[in-house]
Symmetry: C2
Subunit: 425 residues, 2 copies
Amino acid sequence: MSEYRSLSRGELSELLAELKDKFTHYREKGLSLDMSRGKPGGEQLNTTDKLLDALGSESRKLTENGFDVRNYGLPDGIPECKRLFSGLLGVPAENIIVCGNSSLNLMFDYISQCMTHGTGGCEPWIKQGNVKFACPVPGYDRHFKVLEYFGIEMINVPMTAEGPDMDVLEELIKDGSVKGMFCVPKYSNPEGITYSDKTVERIAAMKPAARDFRIIWDNAYIVHDIYDEGDTLSEIFAQCKKYGSEDMVIEVVSSSKITYPGAGVAAIAASNANIAEIKKRLSVQTIGHDKVNQLRHVLFLKDADGIAKHMEIQAEHLRPRFALVLQKFENEFSGKGIAEWTKPKGGYFINLVVPDGCASRVVALCRHAGVTLTDAGAAFPYGKDPNDSNIRIAPSYPSLDELSAAMEVLCVCVELAAVEKLLSE
Amino acid sequence: MSEYRSLSRGELSELLAELKDKFTHYREKGLSLDMSRGKPGGEQLNTTDKLLDALGSESRKLTENGFDVRNYGLPDGIPECKRLFSGLLGVPAENIIVCGNSSLNLMFDYISQCMTHGTGGCEPWIKQGNVKFACPVPGYDRHFKVLEYFGIEMINVPMTAEGPDMDVLEELIKDGSVKGMFCVPKYSNPEGITYSDKTVERIAAMKPAARDFRIIWDNAYIVHDIYDEGDTLSEIFAQCKKYGSEDMVIEVVSSSKITYPGAGVAAIAASNANIAEIKKRLSVQTIGHDKVNQLRHVLFLKDADGIAKHMEIQAEHLRPRFALVLQKFENEFSGKGIAEWTKPKGGYFINLVVPDGCASRVVALCRHAGVTLTDAGAAFPYGKDPNDSNIRIAPSYPSLDELSAAMEVLCVCVELAAVEKLLSE
């Protein structure tokens, strides 16, 4: 198979006609498949259903220190659930606050807190004029939406195979109005890249001009390996300790993709100083999160080993989906020079890079044929992919049959858009 | 029994000696009783435990519109839970958002939203300079803490037997920097006063100078009657409709004292315009609240009738506690001219008014004798009771025996402080 760019206009035109026929064929099937979000499928959720029986009317209602989980109190979470997350994160339990079900909520509230009250003894961000965040791209659209909501200016930092381009980042933080960075350091959304030890250490060693610079370390896929051998991420607070930069990092994690996205437990880990600031707010914001669900999770997951075992079951559901997508890409794109993609060992996404200017066309074509992908550009601040080349593939939700059908459509659409582009040059 | 103020100094001194002996006797008992917060006791919580079995691994997981509660999505709540709250509040389901477990969290987040983003097309409050709230007093300490956290100036508005003094309030809102008011309109915290129909209508008819004036209508005790016959509260949005003031009211409610304080479901009700503003924020703040717990509540409580039946069981636990306190006050204070108290038909509190300048002394004496009451002044902004005369009694948590013991101590401490005061005059 020769690369498409070496084909003649005549050959390309012939190919385009073939692809259009294929596309019409798929469109006429009247598919309706949603691959837009990284969420588990129904069968995968079923594997967690014993969680619902873990705390019944006859179960214990008291925490290990004698506190009734049904009543008000403990805004920082129950001790056994703190310990569960401590085992997961490798961070002392006293530096962890266990909250409600959503880590996004924790991140939003933290940024809101910095906006109205500041951090580290500095002025509230809202009173500091134009405030900026460094944004490794491609990244997680919901992080960008939080920043956009608060009017925080977003500056792209390119991702490398080892994490954010540290040369760019280190330069950027010399600007005191750059106040932070959101990132997904393990199995990054959408590329599935795990930050290398060197990157983690360079991040910990940063000396930002802003004393109130905060990295939101969104460890969403901390135990979300797909294969027996997964990536390992250096523990950020241990690295920070070397450089006295513990106050720079706010880590969040949740059980959304361990148990249920709709009813998990989320936690925040931070330095003593940051935990004190967060507790000060939390003690005003709530009398306590859902502690029954915290205890339910402890009874179901038990400990870090229990989590690891449960994640093996989750991986069984994800592995064939990832394999199907990768195999399809290999079969359809290999040698054509029209697509590149990542091969992550975990997480929820595969990132597909199509020729510049083609991503939004591919997503639009797929939608016409009944396959909803994440919007082109979603993985970039303000929804603007500067190259219009990035497509996030979320293979977890559909059944294998649906996924296979969706991939057929996607691959044809990518080829179609690529050939159209070659013909227009 | 003659009023204490008509006693001679000699008689008072004798009385003081007697009371000090009694106090010493109680102190030596080494009690340790907590009556500081309005929370249910363990036995009362037990009556809700079937909630924990209502949604097990074999139960349905889909909402009535086919949405899987275990997965991401529906940041405004599941339809059947919206309908449950619609039946409770008498507000259309489309004007209700069902969230996590804490209504305090909803109020905090709403104020935060007004601070950073404003409401009704007006500037964010944080950018409007000094912003003020009207505060009916005595009131709920956690409302005041939210305002204090955001640096909102609090202005006392006296309560009457029908609700806030409307003459004072109507005058106050002529100031455009007065942006709102928190209130508990039914069985108010701490007095147990239900706003009269006339008060509710006058509130709805208000024309504040500030276009972005917002009343946080904290309907915490909406179905929390203690006796067969309870108070009735006029439905605020129906009144607002008459005056076109629907945008002025944000209502919150929760099942914290219907099911579990630590694992209930909370909801917010508002006008179309306000719901749109809140949804805009929520769609950035979370991918969805705990929908499993929402469905669990629907399966357990079923509908407004189901809630009413469950509340009768709750009332059985509260009734003897309220009766005990009221009887004790009647027995110990009657005719002495040293205390007044409310006799609410619902809610979680009885309010005790002791002679001016005595409340903090009473609370301190009680603490010495092992009985923890809500801090004196807690029911006032900045914790400052201008008369130092108000004590909030929360009889729900202790057992009847404990409550009886605590009341013995409290009554002696009130007498002691009152006599001390008379002797010092």
